[in-house]
Symmetry: C2
Amino acid sequence: MTRRHRIEPRSGVAFELLKGQALTVIDAEGTQVADLIAFALHDPSEMLSNGRTFDYEETTRLTTGNRLWSGQSNAMLVIERDTVGVHDFLLTPCSKETFRHFYPDKPVHHGCFGNLRNALIPWGIRLNPMHVAFNCFMNVPADATGRLSVDPPVSRPGDSIVLRAEMDLVIGLTACSAYASNGGSFKPIDYEMA
Amino acid sequence: MTRRHRIEPRSGVAFELLKGQALTVIDAEGTQVADLIAFALHDPSEMLSNGRTFDYEETTRLTTGNRLWSGQSNAMLVIERDTVGVHDFLLTPCSKETFRHFYPDKPVHHGCFGNLRNALIPWGIRLNPMHVAFNCFMNVPADATGRLSVDPPVSRPGDSIVLRAEMDLVIGLTACSAYASNGGSFKPIDYEMA
């Protein structure tokens, strides 16, 4: 039986996902975001790239059938199933600095960036804050002029996305800490590996 | 008198741009793209971030008045003037790998990535291919579903964009080497500093 893991609200984890393994990211309670980053296990200078992915997939709206690429032009993950179809790959993980910028009247949190950075330390990976995560379930519509907004996710309880590894990876994954990305409700994220 | 520099077709340069200095990037002949990257002079781990810029500027369509941000949440450059209004910050610089992907029947070129990487070596900066440049004059429309295309620039001969440095920077700048981004015509790019 596949074991289900839980990422507590406003926290993050990292783990290895080997070539051929599938990761299922589950929005257990609905309307929550999970930031996902990926590094090549055997050379962490190879990492997930939004720019290379947009270039090769020729879209910013990534869903079933799309692949997520590294800067070195290797496919890292392929999206095998997706019950939501709305994810973001434009924005950096929330951090102390984004909390100060967007929520000046609220307590500062180290955010998904701090959670990812800390979770990756055992692999010797030093996360740079310019790195863009694939933000599962994050809802960032753009209007015809390119103007962006951060709206609550459309995901309902139990919605999920399945990503299969195309190479051996180190994955970082969070339950998002920011107010806007999840409608102000901090919730857990579940995941399974098979 | 301000000296005008020329970047020959399919090449690139790097130079320092100090806080308060303005860089004018000029499409001398029209319909050409210039990839621009920026690093903090005193700590090159701080670099231009498309994700942080989209987050803080709340748009993908950057023009006069918008700022370009580092991952560390510092403004690196502000766009002071812009006679075009169409630039791209979604896609990675062209490289050997993108040539093989998009132009399998054409000679492979090391592209803007190779030109930027080589130009930055004297500053000890090691460019990672996942790094997205601010692609001056590059025309990447997105339709309502997020689907992207790479169309010829709308810039005419002499069109320009002026960016003022908000910190001491190392700038990398190219005359683009790819076919699609400039309509198949490789042309120079001019620039001035003041």
